[in-house]
Symmetry: C2
Subunit: 204 residues, 2 copies
DNA sequence: GTATATATAGAATGTCGAGTCTAAAAATGA
DNA sequence: TCATTTTTAGACTCGACATTCTATATATAC
């Protein structure tokens, strides 16, 4: 994907991976529609024509950004899952990390997946497909968390859908809260209550 | 606000309230940025210049739409509160109604307040203020629900913030789920789990 | 009927943005 | 050195959009 063997012509003056990361952050920060090609040129440092040649059009760059965003999350989540703790502990780690990230000021506001889903889902076939995939991938992680719980007797096997959707929705809810101005303690309180609901799962 | 006493000049050819309602539905359906002035002219049936004279610019029309949206919700919610049921029953009614609305095909996707907060919060001073107000009004209703619970011993008085934020976030989560394609049963399952967490409140 | 006030139709304006195109630059290989 | 290949700089095109402007229409007040 990156500069294979360096062939003939003039070499690239920018790094493909860094450029995509910068584009992803810009889409995250400004949203899809408010991000202009000039923004992308500026943040990536890549020339206009090169962006088109390398990634395709604006939509393609967005889709690639969304994919990168999802992959980043999956890596972190898989690392948490690999610790082999209980469903409750795993969920707590993941949700708390989300809350901290949403409350912090390092990353752009909210979550690229949720932001974009609420901004543009339903307005373009290709983007819809990409967003559906991103959401499905996220939910897949939540399913793994609940699967863990089912294997350990923390939840009944018939609750896979129910609880994984609940977790997915809870993260969306936190994003919504964070975007509307709630802070760290509020989000952590939300996590606490969410976990309490999860903990009651087996008594149903 | 509407045609006061009918004065001198040519009378309006459109109804202000209907126009605003149509604009609100369009912003809800398409989002702020994707709604053009031509869209507003078309959906309201009001001429371009009249929209400007009556409401102001696009941003003003949006802010008025958001206000109308909030007022509509408050009316329905106050009616539910007026039934004087328990916190749990009140929350169940409100959340279930949200789920049904989100899953139904009568209204546009999601919720104007949540959609807009994730789409444009942070991009314009005036709009930010209006969105903050809309979110605060919504949360105010959730506080009333929890207040009810505190008065009836369904929740402790120190849980007002905690639980009202949880309810507010839960609705945002449902919107997020609905926008990403989950259906009626999934949303109702989400409500059920949310209510379970609320029901555990007093045991904390 | 005439003056006045308001609304309407729709053209005009100016900005912005996505995507394309051309010429110059910078590498390789003969 | 020179032909070839790829990238780059940035001008250019074309359409979309928000907002304003002008001329006209339609009412009331006297």
């Amino acid at each position: 994907m990156t500069n294979e063997t360096r062939g003939r012509g003039r070499p690239r003056g920018f790094d493909e991976e860094h450029a995509l990361e910068a584009a992803m952050l810009t889409f995250w920060k400004k949203g899809y529609r408010r991000t202009s090609l000039d923004d992308l040129v500026q943040c990536t440092g890549a020339p206009r024509a090169s962006l088109y040649k390398t990634f395709g059009d604006k939509r393609d760059i967005f889709i690639a950004s969304l994919d990168l965003y999802g992959t980043r999350f999956e890596k972190r989540a898989e690392a948490v899952l690999a610790a082999n703790k209980s469903m409750m502990a795993t969920a707590e780690t993941l949700l708390t990390a989300s809350a901290e990230r949403l409350a912090g000021s390092d990353a752009p506001a909210g979550c690229l997946r949720c932001n974009s889903t609420l901004e543009i889902m339903g307005s373009d076939r290709e983007i819809d497909r990409a967003l559906a995939e991103a959401n499905a991938r996220f939910h897949g992680i939540m399913e793994k968390v609940v699967d863990r719980g089912i294997a350990r007797g923390e939840a009944g096997p018939q609750q896979l859908d129910h609880l994984s959707v609940f977790l997915t929705g809870a993260v969306g809810g936190m994003v919504s809260l964070a975007r509307s101005g709630w802070g760290r303690d509020d989000l952590l309180g939300f996590v606490e209550t969410t976990l309490r609901a999860l903990g009651e799962a087996k008594d149903r």
